[in-house]
């Protein structure tokens, strides 16, 4: 295959991958007429308009929803990384007979989607009086993210040279200080990989917000946008602006972390 044809194919697919996103972004910055007259054009001085964004920010609790999403994602992520690293350390460092079974028990959580337990999760949350709280989402996402985190972090912890720990132990350093001051800083690159992998499904999830926390005060941005799109389906400016607002944080995140993510994917972090 010639190089030219190769580039042509890849370029064509790249356009297909990006076109819908670009289309929404450029039209969100246009006046209503321009959206319909020429949807494929960039906005110019005449058609530039921020009316959609003004409407969205004024009418819906977009900022609140963003805040909820940030809170849930960050706290879940913190719990997943910290508890995941602790468990991974214990499983690789202390050779207990039960470890194999614990690994298998956790591996189950990678293969079976947590969504299938929803019926019982909801009744549990009702009993704990956590329905319509962000706490409910944090707990579920932490449970969902832990198995993969433990798996990935165990791999990394195994590669840390034994001498480091043994030297520390000879100096009489306690187990907890070894973990927090030696191991945790060493596995930072792996932590970043885990963070990016677990963050995306949490931020984008629709199912659990819909079921566990649908109240107006606890909606995440994904659920908020979903409901907003339903209500304002004819107000194109607002719809396109809402979509863009929901896309932008992910785009920004991707720009920052894409190297980490791609490295994680191609170095086999998910295998």
């Amino acid at each position: 295959m010639s190089t030219g044809l190769l580039h042509l194919t890849l370029l064509a697919y790249t356009v297909l991958a990006l076109f819908p996103i670009v289309l929404v972004l450029i039209n969100s910055l246009k006046a209503r007429d321009a959206i319909f007259d020429d949807p494929l054009a960039f906005s110019n001085a005449e058609t530039l308009s921020l009316i959609g964004y003004e409407k969205v920010l004024a009418k819906a609790n977009v900022l609140l929803y963003f805040g909820n999403s940030f809170t849930v994602t960050l706290i879940s992520l913190g719990c997943i990384v910290l508890f995941g690293a602790m468990a991974a350390w214990a499983l690789t460092e202390y050779k207990l007979r039960i470890n194999r079974w614990l690994m298998l028990y956790l591996a189950f959580g990678i293969m079976v989607p947590i969504r299938l337990g929803t019926v019982s999760i909801l009744s549990l949350m009702v009993k704990l009086e956590l329905v319509n709280t962000l706490m409910a989402l944090v707990l579920v996402y932490t449970a969902q993210g832990l198995p993969l985190a433990v798996m990935i972090l165990s791999e990394f912890i195994q590669q840390i040279p034994k001498e480091l720990k043994e030297a520390a132990r000879c100096d009489g350093v306690g187990e907890f200080r070894i973990f927090f001051q030696i191991i945790l800083p060493l596995i930072r690159p792996a932590v970043a990989t885990v963070a990016v992998f677990t963050m995306i499904p949490v931020w984008n999830d629709l199912w659990f917000p819909l079921i566990l926390a649908p109240s107006d005060q606890t909606q995440t941005i994904t659920l908020g946008v979903q409901q907003f799109l339903g209500q304002f389906v004819t107000d194109w400016n607002a719809v396109l602006a809402a979509l863009s607002l929901a896309v932008l944080p992910v785009l920004a995140l991707y720009v920052v972390f894409s190297k980490q993510l791609i490295k994680g994917l191609t170095s086999g972090a998910v295998k």
Partner: protein, 303 residues
């Protein structure tokens, strides 16, 4: 040196095991149990054995919709296997051509849609394909196909296929990346040796590279399977819980949601919902079992 039982291990393990057990493993087990119960008019639950499953599989009131969802889900999976994974393989192969300029940029950009929320993706494509806005029709007009434009998402015959293709568009980055990584891991000496022997690029791909990445293709297949039989968001955000037109896009995830929560005239039932979830669990478990069986045998053959 005598090793004492490391009590610290328990402290390290406890938070993860508690949260995972309480909010993932035990709810799943409890759901499997709940599927064996039935709810009466007062809302009380009593043990009913396999009655729910009998309803689900054989009582036309339930089974028509259930088998429809199962069948649609299979088609949904089939479309991913026919389009997503072969195209992913093709793109990964092109990307892994040695000395290709811009490979990093291509794969970064092609992976982008995978990160977006399905809610956004569904809606973007709804806009593009809607006859109202006409972007789709206009684009087809540029290549002289405007007459062939149809409201594909709105027609019973094409809605499910269209949704599958939207899902393919979004998630193609995953097989692409996994296969790409596997192709890069193929030892260069083997390829070089084949080149020296005069093998064509075509033959090298089919007879050397492809067999070497079979394990990755197996992994991609099982990931696709689990993802597809657990899908919900796209259908819900594009078609709502009723999975129209006329349930033609209903898959197990949306059927589960309706059974559990109810929708419009249908009353939700936790126990029937649990039964549907259990069926989904069994389907996924079968897929995983087949995967491990196949992989296990392959590994044995290589040894």
């Amino acid at each position: 040196m005598k090793r004492y039982f490391p009590w610290q291990a328990i402290v390290f393990l406890l938070p993860a095991l508690l949260i995972y057990s309480a909010f993932s493993a035990l709810p799943l087990l409890d759901t499997l149990r709940l599927g064996l119960y039935a709810t009466d008019e007062t809302g009380a639950q009593h043990f009913a054995g396999l009655a729910n499953y009998k309803l689900l599989m054989f009582d036309p009131q339930w089974s028509d919709a259930f088998w429809n969802a199962m069948w649609n889900n299979l088609k949904f999976f089939g479309m991913h296997m026919l389009v997503q994974n072969p195209v992913g393989l093709l793109l990964a192969t092109l990307l892994s051509v040695r000395g290709l300029k811009g490979a990093r940029t291509y794969r970064t950009l092609i992976f982008l849609p995978t990160l977006l929320s399905v809610v956004i993706v569904g809606f973007i494509w709804q806009l593009i394909l809607s006859p109202l806005w006409g972007v789709g029709e206009r684009l087809m007009g540029y290549v002289g196909l405007a007459d062939h434009f149809q409201p594909w998402l709105g027609e019973e015959g094409s809605a499910l296929i269209t949704l599958s293709l939207i899902s393919v568009w979004q998630f193609i980055g995953v097989p692409l990346m996994l296969i790409y990584a596997a192709l890069l891991a193929v030892p260069e000496e083997i390829v070089d040796a084949a080149v020296v022997e005069g093998a064509s690029a075509w033959r090298i791909f089919w007879e050397i590279k492809l067999p070497l990445i079979y394990p990755t293709l197996g992994l991609v297949t099982i990931l696709t399977f689990v993802g597809n039989f657990n899908a919900f968001d796209l259908i819900y955000s594009v078609k709502g819980a009723l999975a129209g037109p006329n349930y033609s896009t209903d898959i197990l995830g949306s059927y589960f949601y309706r059974t559990f929560f109810g929708y419009q005239s249908q009353i939700g039932s936790p126990t029937m919902g649990a039964a549907v979830a259990t069926m989904m669990f069994l389907v996924i478990l079968c897929g995983v079992a087949v995967y491990f069986y196949a992989i296990q045998r392959k590994l044995q053959r290589y040894e």
